[in-house]
């Protein structure tokens, strides 16, 4: 039920991340997110904006999509005063640094937001019979940042890509989200931003070093 949710129903206003549990694709951040933040172990479990969830599988994809959509639609109806733009600061492969510019609109309410940044790989792991979407490969709780109306804070995070990521670079996505600074759920997610499409160029093109760049690459 995941592909239609991502590709057809909410292509522009949902960032879905897949967090694996108890298999070969777990991450330190993903484990902490479930056991420390949500303090719950069951899968499958779908959380929207860290406030509403659908636990379990209803046995029918259409029913499952309807369950998820109800939560997503509910959250889409809630106004927000936060915006996030994610950009590439430097790519020195296999490492990369990315920036989330987290802003509060002029009419917003001053408060502290907790910023997370994760990198995902879409259509991974490569297992037959199921299309795993936006699987988390690495994640960070970057920090807490006080925000005032009409103000932005640039938040940077370094990531380390591995061979699987780089061989499937078009499917990499860097996702940042700003959340209420609670250590445990519920903690409302105010906004999400991402890099898309993600491109890895050759010869230092994205780092700004054009000396070695030629017309033949990328």
């Amino acid at each position: 039920m995941v592909p239609p949710i991502v590709d057809d129903l909410y292509p522009d206003n949902l960032e879905l991340i897949g967090i694996h549990r108890t298999d070969a694709y777990v991450t330190t951040w993903g484990n902490s997110r479930m056991t420390v933040f949500y303090t719950y172990e069951g899968v499958p479990n779908f959380w929207t904006d860290a406030t509403l969830n659908v636990l379990g599988y209803y046995g029918n994809p259409n029913t499952q999509i309807a369950q998820w959509s109800a939560k997503i639609n509910s959250r889409l109806a809630v106004p927000t005063d936060i915006t996030i733009d994610v950009s590439t600061v430097e790519l020195n492969l296999p490492n990369g640094t990315f920036e989330a510019n987290v802003c509060m609109e002029a009419g917003g309410t001053a408060r502290t937001v907790r910023v997370f940044m994760v990198r995902v790989l879409d259509h991974y792991p490569f297992l037959s019979g199921y299309d795993y979407r936006n699987t988390v490969r690495e994640g960070f709780q970057v920090g807490d940042y006080p925000l005032n109306p009409d103000e932005c804070v640039p938040v940077q995070q370094a990531f380390a890509f591995d061979t699987v990521d780089l061989e499937n670079a078009p499917n990499i996505k860097i996702i940042a989200f700003a959340q209420e600074p609670n250590d445990h759920s519920p903690a409302e997610v105010y906004q999400v931003g991402s890099t898309w499409p993600f491109r890895v160029f050759a010869d230092g093109f994205e780092s700004g070093d054009l000396l070695a760049w030629s017309a033949t690459v990328p």
Binding site: I17, H20, D49, E105, V189, Q191
Partner: protein
């Protein structure tokens, strides 16, 4: 008269720009975060 019309046009344009800028203060468009906890069984 032509000069007065030009001033009036410039004033109306400035007012339109100010109104458009004021309109930017509306709530931002939300993107929802979906966290799907799952496993490869």
């Amino acid at each position: 008269m032509v000069r007065h019309r030009a001033y009036l046009g410039a004033t109306l344009l400035a007012m339109a720009v100010i109104a458009a800028a004021a309109g930017d203060a509306v709530a931002a468009e939300r993107t929802v975060l979906g966290e799907y906890f799952n496993a490869t069984w």
